[in-house]
Symmetry: C2
Subunit: 406 residues, 2 copies
């Protein structure tokens, strides 16, 4: 069993770096604060006797040798970057649970057959640089190192120059690092476990996701003197599409999701009919066929709206990844560990993307979910119970031991 | 007949002050640029032999004496402040048309019975300081001098300190200035005249207006892991209300107007279900009873939405003025002048508020509209034809002469 208090203390210490007034964390990827966070975690790993490798996209691998060090490591990990208004647990938990697993093995002088590694992946959140899950995405070849290097933040700084600046531009070729199996512990980021009063979520799969940028172009005009019939009100047309996004998701329960999260109205003045509205669309489903049906219905609706209204509507898919079923061996290892430890459990399909969907392309992968308060994440009030975090870490320990061999 | 070329030249000269790259004007009220604009216009008035009075809210009255100087003056005017992305004609035209009327009278050595005055009112636009139509509003007692003085811009500067700083904090008590009749020439700011191919709009009335701030409060949550049924999506609820704003206006043709111009979504992130949405509502009608019906329908819909969804919805009326029918004598003077001069004409209800709705509370008032290109104003591409501006100014001259007596 791991040391729950030590895990909690490390989580709270890391959360100091970039701590916000409201109890959250703002530690955007590749900032000075991210460097401080990385240095702290790497320091803990060294104290635990681990060796460090950094690859060219700044992914960090912290290694505890195995009896047979030629075996591919059993890896765990996640990310330590946060959203602008992020919490203490998203990502950070998975990394520090890995550190806690190693500390526990050290305490008990347990030598595993295969090496154990703890990784943190660069820029999982995608808040400062797109695409999201950048480090693990480059690692598994979902997109190229050059694409990732060229990504710019709003100030025009690139990923490559920021990696260099904070001292985490490593030399290892991404993807060259072997992985025997990968486990990721994470807060659920949804309300399902809490609702069902379960401690451990076994994650059979992650939903696929389609992201779009949509722009409706009408004609900016004065709100008073322009008769209703002569308007080309971009917002009125955009809100129709926004409502359809939700309607489409509701047609495909239980795993259809449809969200408009971001809206910009131009010129955004009280007495000016909006001339242009830009907004994002996020569609998800765990079934790729249904996700594709939702995609087609979305495009058909936009098409029809364009014909019916005569306004210009541009819609562009900006991200897509298919649903990711996890490897039965890893899923079963998590389920078996949970049952052995006697925790209440259920299967929870992940609605959020995680680095594990990319590791799953190159190695057997699986995830462990623990509840978070009110299902809330990407929010400064994100919270989780120490007992749940401890339980998830115990499951991680035992699942990893099964794969690594003692 | 006035001198159209001279009028046009003055408009273009004033438009240099605060000229934007895109051919518009950015000359926000009580800024250094506003001072330069005021100084230029006051200089022209002095050259034309006029005397200047400034009141405590910075309204400027430029006077040409009459034969009987004890008679209340026949006044014309408008404003010279602009929107942040404003044009060359909105407001400026009405003031410079007044100057051109005086120059024409000077050219012909015409002495009017009553004095002629040209006014420009402080902060008509309301972009930097609310409320809109501030100078004329204080003048007619719609709100107090103290309220106006205390208004702050985004940097916290007050109207009073900015008036003092630019040297336009006058000593006359607002409202003490007598007005015999008031005429305001203005671009239509709508597409009606252009659509009907008419040169002069006779303005029987200005629509009443109700402005609201609406805030929908739901629960911010992750777009992926949160099942549709467990969401409290503030945007989904807000878009329903936004669509109803337009639906309400469409139920009351031809003078119902409903616009949502301003929207802010929190936290405005692609994969976060919006926790809060703030937006503006602008309802107008020329019939106060119908405007009130629209108001009631709006509130009832918000109420029902709140009950149906369980989300918090706050709606607050932030501005209201009733429809303003203009004085028959002034409307008829404009109509008669237009017919005498032989311009094509139609009645156009003003959808936009103007300083004339406030002068109408203290003196017989009327307005003259001329077409603007594509009905567009509050936009740097705002445009108007020299021939139309000349025609409107001729109508202004003749309407004022009828009221002032020669
Ligand atoms: N775990 C997580 O928040 N990933 C970001 C990508 C997503 O929206 O699923
Ligand atoms: N004329 C004008 O644009 N007034 C501003 C107030 C309104 O929106 O009607």
């Amino acid at each position: 069993r791991i040391n729950g208090q030590r895990l909690w203390n490390s989580l709270m210490e890391l959360a100091q770096i970039g701590a916000t007034d409201k109890g959250g964390v703002k530690r955007l990827t590749l900032t000075d604060l991210d460097r401080q966070g990385r240095d702290l975690v790497v320091g803990w790993a060294r104290e635990a006797g681990m060796s460090i490798t950094v690859d060219k996209i700044g992914n960090v691998f912290m290694r505890r040798p195995g009896r047979d060090d030629s075996l591919p490591p059993v890896m765990t990990g996640s990310h330590i970057d946060t959203q602008p208004t992020g919490g203490k647990f998203d990502g950070n938990y998975g990394v520090l649970a890995g550190i806690e697993v190693v500390r526990t093995l050290n305490d008990r002088n347990i030598v595993t057959e295969a090496p154990i590694e703890v990784a943190f992946w660069t820029n999982e959140e995608g808040s400062r640089f797109v695409p999201v899950m950048m480090g693990s995405g480059v690692f598994c070849g979902a997109f190229s190192l050059e694409t990732a290097y060229a990504a710019q933040d709003v100030e025009g700084k690139t990923v490559r120059e920021e990696l260099e600046r904070i001292g985490y531009l490593g030399s290892e070729e991404p993807g060259r690092h072997p992985i025997g199996a990968y486990f990721e512990a994470h807060i659920e980021q949804g309300p399902v476990l809490e609702d069902a009063d379960k401690v451990i979520g076994v994650v059979p799969a992650v939903m696929g996701l389609s992201w779009y940028d949509c722009t409706v172009s009408g004609m900016e005009a004065h709100a008073g003197p322009t008769p209703m019939g002569l308007r080309r009100d971009a917002l009125q047309v955009a809100t129709g599409i926004m409502q359809e996004v939700v309607a489409i998701a509701n047609r495909y329960p239980p795993y259809g999701r449809g969200t408009v999260g971001m809206v910009q109205v131009f010129p955004n003045s009280r007495n000016v009919i909006p001339g242009q509205v830009k907004f994002s669309i996020d569609l998800r489903n765990v079934n790729d066929e249904l996700l594709n049906t939702m995609h087609e219905e979305m495009l058909a609706f936009v098409d029809k709206t364009q014909r019916d209204t005569g306004l210009g509507i541009a819609i562009e898919r900006v991200s897509y990844y298919p649903p990711c079923p996890f490897h039965p061996d890893c899923v079963n290892a998590v389920r078996a560990a949970t049952e052995k430890l006697g925790y209440s459990t259920m299967d929870v399909v992940s609605g959020a993307g995680h680095d594990a969907i990319y590791t799953a392309r190159v190695a057997p992968s699986g995830m462990i979910f623990v509840p978070c308060k009110d299902g809330i994440s990407h929010n400064e009030i994100e919270d989780a119970q120490p007992g749940h975090l401890e339980a998830g870490c115990n499951v991680l320990l035992h699942a990893m031991l099964v794969r690594a061999g003692v």
